[in-house]
């Protein structure tokens, strides 16, 4: 048998002086640097300095006064974001965050330690905004802002998935995600943005969703999904779209219309809503729960999430139910209502089936699907047959944002334990607030950074391998669309034979529907346990 190539994680421990020296295009490794934004997307979003440029070339064609703009925008950011200012000032470099970053663990690159990542910009902050840095320069850990530094900032700002794991361990709560978010927005002001997020942001600004699906495409996708449901259950499901006067607007990440295994989750939504007779609607305009704008800047995030409340008002719904997605819930829990205050026409988020008032969503009117389903199950409104999931030994991956920007731990577990007989937790240090990123969040799902993603996903993959070996786990349940896209590749790379899916797929399998034919297969078309083909 062919000996597999061994992957080495080489750790380097350079001196502090060397750490201040920028990594430039000459040292950029393939598989780690992002392609530059496309001119058409930069233009469409009216971002500054659209031009062709290549991160591997010496000349990045920065505007002539790039330095002035950068420092001006940085000064503004320091005034606009207390988090950014404070995090520039109070780090003591204790190193508690260092081995918490999955990119650091996977790559061994010292600049991927959260503290070192923040130091990249902190050194600029010291040089231009603090007396110590102005006086003592390098000795105070300060350095001049040069084109090389810009290149380094770009390289490492896009090697962070904004997962906030470091923030949970920092004694001062320093959140690298905040720092990198602000840094990316400053870089965007001098025309240094990566390609991947911008393609989706531009598509979402144009069509309402990241995939750029037009209304007919969305309707067609939902129809095909309903057809798949019919094949499994024999039930004809009507899927409401753009329906005025519905009780609830349902918003999911757009990957749920097309991608696999997202598709099975979408089948789960349709089956559940049909079964409980929910008066709801999809929207082709508010057809995207995700918000890649949150990866780049406040303004872009705001631009993308405004449509949902507008659509809720236009359709006259009472409240909004959100699907399975990770960063979407950072946006929907922490950002959207601040960026675009909700319209007055919305009403109290009350579950029409159980009468439960979702008190924790009182003002923003957004309820998470896991909260919604958990409530239905607790009130015994669903007939479930968990044995239909007996071919799955399930583990649950807490997605970064629902975990550390929302605190959604027990609701999905409650649902999963009610629809599955075999559920196993991954090791304690890899779940809940200590959960590891899939390695592809925060705008890093781009193909050109595959090496980085596969290495960054190492700690998570190893935790999955652990439960696979120990309990025979063969199903990784996640509630994040990016997870569902990233994990199949990651698990193949690390040779772990585990399928990836979502909570609502498991619910769909277990849900006993009125008038359904005898089920012989699960939502994937696999024969159900105990059924002979």
């Amino acid at each position: 048998m062919e000996e597999a190539e061994k992957l080495k994680i080489e750790q380097r421990f350079p001196s502090w002086r060397e750490l201040l020296k920028p990594v430039t295009e000459k040292d950029f490794k393939p598989g780690y640097y992002h392609y530059s934004a496309l001119v058409r997307d930069v233009k469409a979003l009216e971002l500054p300095f659209p031009r062709e440029w290549n991160p591997l070339e010496k000349d990045w064609k920065l505007p002539p006064n790039w330095k002035e703009i950068f420092l001006k925008k940085m000064k503004e950011a320091l005034e606009k974001f207390r988090s950014f200012k404070l995090f520039m000032d109070i780090c003591v470099r204790c190193g508690a965050c260092a081995d918490k970053c999955h990119y650091y663990l996977g790559t061994g690159d010292p600049k991927n330690m959260p503290v070192a990542r923040a130091e990249l910009i902190r050194s600029i902050y010291r040089r231009y905004f603090t007396p110590a840095g102005k006086l003592f320069g390098e000795l105070a850990g300060a350095r001049d802002l040069t084109e090389d530094v810009i290149k380094e900032l770009y390289y490492y700002a896009y090697q962070c998935s904004l997962c906030r794991r470091c923030s949970a361990f920092c004694p001062y709560g320093i959140d690298t995600a905040e720092v990198i978010w602000v840094l990316r927005s400053i870089l965007a002001e001098i025309g240094v943005v990566h390609r991947f997020s911008l393609i989706s942001i531009a598509a979402s600004a144009r069509t309402g969703n990241h995939l750029g699906l037009l209304p007919g495409g969305i309707a067609g996708a939902l129809q095909s999904i309903a057809e798949d449901v019919k094949e499994v259950t024999g039930i004809d499901i009507e899927v409401p779209i753009n329906k005025k006067g519905a009780d609830i607007l349902f918003v999911a990440p757009s990957a749920d219309y097309f991608a696999t295994p997202h598709w099975f989750v979408c089948m789960g939504y349709l089956m559940l809503f049909h079964e409980i007779g929910l008066d709801y609607t999809w929207s082709t305009y508010a057809s995207e729960g995700g918000n890649f704008g949150t990866f780049i800047s406040y303004e872009l995030a705001q631009k993308l999430n405004a449509k949902i409340y507008q659509e809720a008002e236009r359709l006259g719904v009472k409240w909004i139910l959100g699907g399975e997605c990770g960063h979407m819930w950072r946006d929907k829990h922490q950002y959207i209502a601040t960026m675009n205050p909700p319209p007055k026409t919305l009403e109290d988020p009350i579950n029409p089936i159980t009468g439960t008032y979702f008190e924790n969503a009182a003002e923003s009117k957004w309820v998470h699907i896991a909260e919604f389903v958990a409530d239905l199950i607790a009130h015994k409104k669903l007939k479930l047959d968990p044995s239909r999931n007996d071919h799955w030994k399930v583990t649950f991956h807490d997605s970064c944002n629902p975990a550390r920007a929302m605190g959604l731990f027990e609701e999905p577990r409650y649902v999963i334990k009610n629809v599955c007989n075999y559920f196993y937790e991954m090791p304690e240090h890899t779940i809940k607030e200590k959960t590891y990123c899939c390695g592809s969040g925060g705008g890093l799902l781009a193909d050109e950074v595959m090496d980085l993603r596969m290495r960054g996903g190492m700690p998570r993959a190893m935790a999955i391998r652990y439960v696979h070996k120990k309990y025979g786990v063969n199903y990784l349940c996640t509630i994040c669309a990016i997870d569902k896209a990233a994990f199949p590749t990651l698990l193949e790379y690390w040779k772990i034979p585990v399928e990836v899916g979502g909570m609502m797929e498991l619910v769909g399998n277990a849900l006993i529907m009125k008038g359904e034919k005898e089920r012989t297969m699960d939502l994937r078309g696999n024969p159900l346990p105990g059924v002979n083909e």
Binding site: L19, E178, Y285
Partner: protein, 314 residues
């Protein structure tokens, strides 16, 4: 002359820099806006009644103001987040609890607190009873002669432990800037010189107290007079302490004040129940329904013709 410079002039300057510097830094932070409510949630959110929240969840993911206050209290007095610390073992691809840093940090900060409290005997007349009490307690008064203050020894030990981390652990060495070493060396110099004064070369404590009382009441003439009577060795400790005060507001030591402002810790996780207002929220610019409708009129009208729904055709 030494007495005047190190006993009167420098302390005044240092205290002035300390007070003004700290006020400046705090106002400076407070002036930065807080656009978003971004707590890092390290526990179960408050949602449905049957979703159980443990006591840890309530304080690691606070929902109410009180829970947030407790979170901050735990963070400041028990270094809650540092207590969560783990260490990753690449060979086993697993993390394990690692609380050494937490232990050294706790030892250092609480020793410092005790040392500072004991020093208040130089500022306060009469010395409050509880200061006497803790001094006696931690010194095991009567067991050793002269009585040995545990905190004074522990603080040196903890500082060495913290410094050795930076010197001998490769990752920490890479991360440490000269200023990180400097702060530790400065604190070591202060604490060691303090111990020397306490146990070996004793200064005239009555005179020191008189000097400080006079400085505090701005009796400058008398302060100068007393200052000149004190042995120079005392001024090593006194000067280093003054220097620390002046250095404090402009260094990483300001983490002591900054931790109170940390937006990921001092805000409740009730985002959806109480909307945060961004003081500089820009006006919204994005695709409106009308624009959207214009662009995709045909397809949208088709959905309308189908009665705003689709169903399986098979």
């Amino acid at each position: 002359m030494i007495g005047v410079i190190f006993g009167v002039i420098i302390p005044y300057i240092a205290v002035a820099i300390f007070v003004i510097g700290i006020i400046y830094r705090i106002i400076n932070w407070a002036n930065s806006a807080v656009p978003l409510k971004v707590p890092t949630t390290c526990g179960q959110q408050k949602s449905l009644k049957f979703i159980r929240r443990t006591i840890y969840d309530r304080f690691d993911s606070p929902y109410t103001k009180w829970e947030t206050v407790v979170r901050m209290f735990l963070e400041i007095f028990f270094f809650r987040s540092l207590f969560r610390n783990t260490r990753y073992y690449l060979d086993k691809q697993m993390a394990r609890d690692a609380r050494w840093l937490w232990l050294f940090a706790i030892l250092f900060h609480y020793s410092l607190l005790l040392v500072l409290l004991r020093h208040s005997r130089f500022f306060l007349q009469p010395v409050p009873e509880f200061i006497e009490m803790i001094s006696n307690l931690e010194a095991f008064k009567g067991v050793y002669i002269p009585s040995l203050y545990i905190s004074g020894i522990l603080i040196v030990a903890a500082l060495f432990a913290l410094w050795f981390r930076r010197l001998f652990l490769s990752r920490e060495r890479t991360l440490s800037l000269p200023s990180d070493h400097f702060a530790l060396i400065l604190l070591l110099a202060i604490t060691i010189s303090g111990n020397i004064l306490r146990y070996f070369i004793k200064a005239d404590l009555e005179a020191v107290k008189e000097l400080i009382m006079n400085l505090m009441t701005f009796n400058i003439a008398e302060a100068v007079e007393v200052a000149n009577t004190i042995e120079p060795i005392f001024y090593v400790h006194f000067f280093l302490g003054s220097f620390l005060l002046a250095y404090f507001p402009f260094s990483k030591l300001m983490h002591a004040g900054g931790v109170f402002f940390s937006p990921t810790r001092n805000m409740p996780n009730n985002n959806r129940a109480e909307i945060h207002v961004n003081p500089w929220n820009p006006p919204y610019k994005g695709l409106t329904w009308e624009e959207y409708y214009e662009m995709y009129k045909d397809q949208l009208d088709e959905i309308a013709e189908q009665g705003y729904k689709v169903k399986p055709e098979l």
